[in-house]
Amino acid sequence: MRNVLSQTLRRTGTSLLVLVGVSILIFAIARVIPGDPARVALGPNATAEQVASLREELRLDEPIVVQYLAYMRDLLRGDLGVSLYTNRPVAVDVAEFLPATLELILVAGVMMVGLGLPLGILAARHRGRWPDHLVRVVSLLGVSAPGFVWAVVLMLAFSYYLGWFPVAGRIDEQYDDLRHITGFLTADTAFQGNWAAFGSAWHHLVLPAFALALSGIGQAARLTRANMIETYERPYIEMAEAYGFPAGRIARRYAFKPSLIPSLTIIGLDFAAMLGNAFLVEAVFGWPGLSRYGVQVILRKDLNAIVGTVLIIAALFILVNIVVDLLTTLLNPRISHAPGGRA
């Protein structure tokens, strides 16, 4: 356990360095892109004086290093600056849009793990027979078409033709004045005991989450299948067979756990990548999330909002990676029970 703790601390330390690096990079890139943010924000009818005064307010005429240091000073106080697009503090925007994206990604992640892994186990256990072929075709479809294609296809099929799911938004309009506590509508509605709104939130959530999860489900299933097939060749599986352990138990327990360890890192990366992939799905389903916000502010060269959004997403990405590393360590006794300190 000491290994696990020291590893986590070390990873957290290096992650902070990575975040500083990301902040420098995105800060510089956002300013290098051609176009004057002040002019974009004020529109074509603004006078030269108005533009100049906004540039001064944004410190755009100072050296980039000075700008960066000033930004970091504010950041340490929790101030992400003001968005030129929404005219609100970026922190307020993030607080509003982030929960929507997180809710979407978490549900998609649960779908990815909850469907992808069992499908992979099923395919490996019935290798070469019809369940295997079916899983392989389905997962290949999931992997080969990007999420937004599935978003459109699913929306056409289930929302437009069948009418089973709503087309867009997070919840029915009648619940719009619902009190927000966490920003996770499924949680907020449950806290308030408003089960109709709870149902509506899930009803809106399922389809976009599934569209976002599909490629991850395919990837997780393929990876699990491949690793399990390799594990099935191991002597300890032959031993389990020789001792007559139930076939299902061998698949779900004795072959699955050793196979999960190498898959986990990639599944974790796939999950983190959803933060970026969520944008197109959010756009298709009119989902008011952070990814969609991020793209809109980039198009408007809204410097503070761009840097703020990217930093938040980078921090989440790193967090997911740390969690995945931690899980891998905990699952693999050869690391968590290694003699001596370093894992």
Binding site: P235, Y236, A240, I261, H337
Partner: protein, 288 residues
């Protein structure tokens, strides 16, 4: 009645180039409490024979099995896959070459032991399983069973893992133990110790053993009777002493000459094929 009776066992695999027969009519029998060795070089068909007895090859598509394998008078090929599985780990168990890689690397010994015990006692409680396992590990001369049960296989030595495997194999008091080159992956002294231990235990419990090996020295120590297998055929059989003292078949003689000798003499050259090797001394039924 013999515990195991194999008559005229054939095995062939269907490949796209056509069927390939790897066992051409094996017959052998093991009496209650008897230790029988099946000796031959790699690829002679020793291990597949053991796997057929376990019922592991029957369900594999592409494998065709002929002849009869009777375990305690019941014909294995007449059983369903479920019935064959029911025998495994309870009435028949197996010990493998490399104990460390035969134990699952990501589960503690205790959990794996419990799974083995649950074969005979479904739904056995954790405390009960642990108590039983502790007793069984003490039987194989493990002095700190608690530590071993809480360990992962990689934390134990090869010899220790082999003791664990022996304890697991005998845990449910099977009537037949298949030992496929047990401990070949271990160093010689550890292998000798663990084989001694295994021998004492099977003697105590009256377990019949099919001992598969290419190591004649070990076979001479361990087995009551010997079958020599060459290219999917039994070429010679007899009581261990008789076979070792008066090997009748040219292949048996060649195999014995291949044993390294402390007093020197070097390794003899054994031809890959020799027509005389294929002329059996043992004739079973109307085949061969």
């Amino acid at each position: 009645m013999s515990v195991l009776a194999i008559r005229d066992l054939t095995l062939s695999f269907r490949l796209w180039s056509g069927p390939v027969e790897v066992l051409h009519g094996i017959s052998l029998s093991i009496a209650r409490g008897e230790r029988v060795a099946l000796v031959g070089e790699s690829g002679s068909g020793k291990s597949v024979t053991a796997r057929i007895v376990l019922g592991l090859l029957q369900d594999q598509s592409g494998a065709r099995i002929g002849g009869r394998v009777e375990f305690q008078g019941r014909n294995l090929s007449g059983m369903s896959a479920r019935e064959r599985r029911a025998l495994r780990g309870r009435d028949i168990s197996m010990i493998f070459q490399d104990p460390t890689s035969s134990l699952n690397p990501v589960f503690r010994i205790g959990g794996q032991f419990r799974e083995v015990l649950a074969r005979a006692t479904p739904g056995i409680s954790d405390t009960k399983a642990r108590a039983t396992a502790t007793g069984l590990l003490e039987e194989v001369a493990i002095h700190d069973p608690a530590r071993v049960l809480d360990s992962y296989p990689f934390q134990l030595s090869g010899g220790m893992n082999q003791r664990v495997m022996i304890a697991m194999a005998l845990a449910n008091r099977p009537s037949l133990l298949l030992a496929d080159e047990p401990g070949t992956a271990l160093d010689v002294t550890v292998q000798a110790q663990t084989l001694d231990l295994m021998r004492t235990l099977v003697d105590d419990h009256g377990t019949s053993v099919l001992f598969i090996s290419h190591n004649l020295g070990v076979v001479r120590e361990f087995a009551d009777r010997v079958y020599v297998i060459y290219r999917g055929r039994i070429v010679e059989e007899g009581p261990t002493r008789a076979v070792f003292e008066h090997p009748g078949h040219p292949y048996t003689r060649a195999l014995m000459a291949a044993q390294p000798n402390l007093t020197g003499g070097g390794l003899p050259r054994i031809p890959e094929r020799d027509p005389s090797f294929l002329a059996p001394l043992v004739v079973h039924g109307d085949r061969t």
